[in-house]
Symmetry: C2
Subunit: 377 residues, 2 copies
């Protein structure tokens, strides 16, 4: 039996993010059992009502609309899902794709940078992307103005490119890049984690950034201000063991600060495509960020997926975890590792409580296996 | 008795460079014995005539002319000679100074770069120099157009600066920097290895560069093309254990290439003076380049200077060295260490033969303890 519909129902359930989805799938033998457990877990997490789950009909409508646009849905742990992206701690459980799905499994390099880039920055982005694509690499970027758009255009000049967007595939952002998105779909692939009809909001962009970081073997930063999204992407890529490249610039241009800082921290100083290809490994440098021992990855399809998580904690542990863990999670993101160090509870107990808190809508999981208290509704 | 005149006669003797001078002073008990030995050594080195040595009267005239301009002569191993410069393998045996001699012993940073610098490069040079000088460091540069001149001007805005020039103190170069040189002499110091009246030729600039490298604790490179004099200075400074700093720039400007390459090789990426001061040691990082075991440095004056070199080789060794070493030295510079590895003779025998060959005018010693065959006269 094809569980696709039920998986997408669980993925699209309110308060179920990528990590919650994986925790549920690790804890329950079937997706149907996981769906059935959601209301009780959410109540234990302190939620007043029941998290909203879409009906089979709603999901069928979403998939039909995607097919009508010529798109496909890729699922984590199913064939075709990008291998390196799956190594993140929080890969998107489902990805909507327009264009060439096979391109997602090609070796790739990301190029990111300022939206308000200089003419020189955009020229460098376009030239590097063109040279990388001519060398057989896919070039991944985020369809934004400035560096991103230049990278897509350069890669299309001599090869193929991948755009990862923050909203749904039917809502290109910025709107003036609608034509560019169509060209990329025809000359590569466009990816979205969000369902069709999702308008891109500020909170979607960090999620988009982690997908770029997860897809690529290396990430190139060109013109990034301190605390910009590009630097966040670089941090996520570095944490996932991907090589970091940065194009230097004059200290007199504030747009150089971020890339220069990355070089100071050990990123490869990058002037030409050879600086990138000469330092690009065949595989991510470390085993990825999947530090959470609850999860295992493999080629297994849905039906064969084993329940790898058997709760291994006593009731007293669970009660203590339920009492203490919420106190450790504030508005500032904290890593799950840090929580484990602080409370000295088993990872199994911590995972169980985080699952409740997430489904209860009290905690949200952020890229990089960090959690934070949800803003009050 | 004051040996100053005879030391300067030996220093100004034809074919006597800094290393030859030190070899002679190490081998003979007094400067008079060294002067007396020059003709015989030169003949052994294959010279037809006798190397020209200035008379006492000529040297007295040089010193009087220097005094008239308000200048001083500093001698290696005498008080006031810059301590870190003395740690080179080939420090200038005598230095003519205009201005504040004590400044030469202050902690200092060099700033070097392109003559055809960009407006931004010169602005950075001036700002960095001003900030470093305001922090109490002397800023050393070469009085050239572009980055050098901007560094001197910036340092004078808030402190003192040192110019090292390639020709004599009475022949500023470029000529339009005559006024700048006077200002530096009044607000710091100007140094020259060459005697008064020496017009700066191409071969003087590498000698000038090694003095900059030897004076400073750290060297900052701003806008340097590949194979430029600034990169040679950086190599000499690095070999002498000085910290190397480089200001990054856009890959689209060829003037950025040299500094970016240095960063790739480990130079400190530099945007502000804090990047320099935060990485500046109190002393050179290694014991300097004085690898030649023939030489020892100390505060001893001329009279007390011990003869540290007693030839320790037999006659057969000497004959073999005289036959083999000239064959190892071609037009391309080769290091004395490399010669020692190739011929497997004692360093004492090698030094004795190099001394003959230098005085014979057949070999010249270059910065960094390298030698090359002299161009045919």
């Amino acid at each position: 039996m094809d569980d696709t519909i039920d998986h997408l129902r669980l993925i699209r359930t309110e308060s179920v993010g990528p990590i919650t989805y994986r925790r549920l799938m690790a804890r329950f033998k079937t997706v149907q059992q996981a769906l059935a457990a959601v209301p009780e877990l959410a109540a234990a997490g302190g939620r007043a009502g029941v998290p909203k789950t879409p009906s089979r009909g709603e999901i069928e409508k979403e998939l039909a609309a995607l097919r009508k646009r010529g798109g496909h849905m890729l699922f984590l742990d199913q064939p075709g899902y990008p291998e390196f992206l799956a190594q993140l701690a929080d890969p998107p459980p489902a990805l909507a794709v327009l264009g060439d799905v096979s391109l997602l499994s090609a070796p790739s390099v990301g190029i990111v940078g300022a939206r308000n880039a200089s003419a020189n920055g955009m020229r460098l982005s376009e030239e590097l992307a063109s040279d990388l694509a001519a060398g057989g690499l896919a070039v991944v970027s985020g369809l934004a103005r400035g560096i991103d758009a230049a990278a897509h255009k350069g890669a299309m000049r001599s090869g193929r490119t991948i755009a990862v967007i923050a909203g749904g595939l039917d809502l290109p952002y910025p709107p003036e890049h609608e034509k560019l998105q169509s060209e990329i779909a025809a000359n590569g692939a466009v990816l979205a984690e969000a369902p069709l009809g999702t308008a891109p909001l500020a909170r979607h962009f960090p999620k988009r950034n982690r997908i770029i970081a997860g897809l690529v073997l290396g990430l190139v930063v060109i013109e990034a201000a301190p605390r910009s999204g590009s630097l966040l992407t670089a941090r996520l890529a570095n944490e996932a063991g991907r090589e970091i490249f940065a194009v230097p610039g004059s200290p007199l241009d504030p747009r150089s600060k971020g890339a220069n800082d990355l070089i100071r921290q050990g990123a490869h100083l990058t002037e030409t495509a050879a600086d990138i290809t000469g330092n690009l490994p065949d595989h991510p440098g470390r085993a990825g960020l999947a530090r959470d021992p609850l999860f295992q990855h493999g080629p297994a399809g849905f039906a064969e997926r084993p329940a790898v998580f058997e709760p291994a904690f006593d009731h007293a542990d669970l009660l203590r975890a339920r009492r203490e863990i919420p106190l450790l999670i504030g508005a500032d993101p904290v890593s799950v590792d840090e929580i484990a160090r602080r409370c000295q509870l088993s990872t199994a107990a911590i995972a169980a409580i985080l699952l409740e808190l997430e489904l209860g809508g009290r905690v949200e999981t952020l890229p990089g296996n960090r959690v934070a208290r949800s803003p009050d509704p």
